[in-house]
């Protein structure tokens, strides 16, 4: 579904991504792990063009989305994103947050948008919090609203940028549970995460990055039990 060829990204002199090549299949759940500053987030942000790649290609359904004349907004409609710090719209209720983009971007009728928003908020377990403003929600609740907001656009693929890193420990599970359900429903997901158990349990494939390079990728069981590279081994020794 997404083919990434020799993707590189540099900020002025600083090379943060170096020749990343990989493929994300339809329905696949990919966990991207690695030490801080390894380029995981930048890699993720290149996929929906929040960062513009310096070189290389990203093919979405065989279409190169790194071409300058591509309509970024059109691409992003199909790619949902969940951020570490939620970025909910603070002046809108949970319900309005979820409804906003479908109405403004896809020009859905209010009734239709409301129906979808309601269903999604039920799905993420926030039926009672629909009319609550974000500042009255806990971190875990905020992140679940953010997931519902992204899903409301009915994207083909969901990107998660460290979705549980800003949460208190007791709230991590409720967010991961929502993501697990999503994975089970067949959603294509790319998840940058520090939750090794989640990666092991839910992901179909692990991508390990370090120093802006893709060092190793493989199935979770073989990767965690038997990493092929020294860098991956060292990293796992530290975090497990």
């Amino acid at each position: 579904m997404i083919k990434i060829n020799n993707l590189s990204k540099s900020f002025s002199d600083n090379l943060v991504l170096e020749n990343i090549t990989t493929t994300i299949e339809h329905g696949e759940v990919v966990a991207v792990i690695g030490p801080s500053g390894s380029g995981k987030s930048t890699f993720l942000r290149c996929i929906n063009l929040l960062e513009s790649p310096s070189s290389g290609q990203i093919l979405l359904h065989e279409m190169d989305i790194t071409k300058p004349k591509i309509n970024k907004l059109e691409i992003r409609k199909n790619i949902g994103m969940v951020f570490q710090h939620f970025h909910l719209f603070p002046h809108m209720t949970a319900f309005e947050n979820v409804m906003y983009a479908p109405m403004k971007v896809k020009h859905q009728k209010r009734g239709e948008a409301e129906k979808i928003a309601k269903e999604l908020l039920i799905k993420v377990g926030l039926t009672e919090k629909m009319d609550t403003y974000p500042n009255r929600l806990s971190g875990g609740q905020k992140q679940r609203v953010a997931i519902a907001r992204a899903l409301a656009m009915e994207p083909e693929i969901m990107l998660f940028d460290e979705p549980t890193s800003a949460l208190d420990p007791e709230m991590v599970k409720e967010v991961l549970d929502v993501m697990k359900d999503l994975a089970k429903s067949g959603m294509t997901m790319v998840v940058v995460t520090h939750e090794m158990n989640f990666a092991k349990e839910v992901a179909d494939r692990i991508i390990f990055m370090d120093g802006g390079q893709l060092i190793e990728e493989g199935e979770p069981i073989s990767f965690f039990d038997n990493p092929q590279t020294k860098r991956a081994g060292d990293f796992l020794a530290k975090v497990l």
């Binding site: 929906n48 929040l50 059109e74 992003r76 970025h87 603070p90 992204a150 656009m153």
Partner: protein, 219 residues
């Protein structure tokens, strides 16, 4: 000390009429400043150089030179250039409106920049276009930073408005001066004018504090 306010009593209505004159040109100037300032602010936050550069230059010039100089240039130099006898009201409104636009554009720009960058990214990631993003996401949040600062700008504009007395606009200040020169007593009419300005600013500050409280409430 021989203050004698009884002598200015007959002239009080004449001075009070200046309130209308002052308010009229101040409110038109504020409106002009607000409209132009908003346009300049949007130019400044744009990533297009040809929009940003003129707006920055404009602000630099109007903030970097004395207001009274701008007023003089508009009122005395423009006629020389265009053979057009500019009315005092128009000069006053142009000078104050154009000057205020520079300050207002900075206030609005800063208010928009203070909105968390994540908001822009969240909107972009959802495929929201620039205009609806600005109107529905960024500006409603920026208003909280902008309104209190804007009230301060209106207050200082009201006070500085006394400068237009120098080009002969019959505002509160000018009228107090006229009364002073007729009576050969300056202290009383000037003190009275001061009282009027203070009351006007007091009312504006009270509104300003109320606005600020409202903004904080909605957090």
């Amino acid at each position: 000390m021989n203050l004698d306010f009884s002598q200015i009593v007959p002239s009080i209505p004449f001075i009070l009429e200046g309130i209308g004159a002052t308010l009229k040109f101040v409110s038109v100037s504020i409106l002009l400043g607000l409209i132009l300032g908003t346009i300049f602010a949007l130019c400044k936050i744009s990533n297009k150089k040809w929009l940003k550069w003129p707006a920055d230059a404009y602000t630099s010039i109007f903030r970097g030179t004395p207001l009274i100089l701008q007023l003089m240039i508009i009122h005395y130099a423009v006629p020389q250039l265009f053979q057009y006898d500019i009315p005092v009201f128009l000069s006053a409104v142009l000078a104050f409106g154009l000057n205020s636009a520079a300050y207002v554009s900075e206030i609005i720009r800063a208010g928009i920049m203070a909105v968390d960058k994540g908001q822009v990214e969240a909107a972009e990631a959802l495929g929201v276009a620039y205009r609806p993003m600005m109107l529905n996401i960024i500006l409603p949040q920026a208003i909280k930073n902008i309104l209190p600062a804007l009230m301060n700008e209106f207050i200082s504009l009201t006070k500085e408005s006394a400068l237009v007395s120098t080009i002969g606009y019959l505002d509160i200040m000018r009228r107090a001066e006229i009364v002073g020169s007729q009576l050969y007593r300056n202290f009383e009419p000037l003190l009275f004018a001061g009282l009027i300005y203070w009351v006007m600013v007091f009312i504006l500050s009270t509104i300003g504090r109320w606005v600020e409280r409202r903004m904080r409430h909605s957090d």
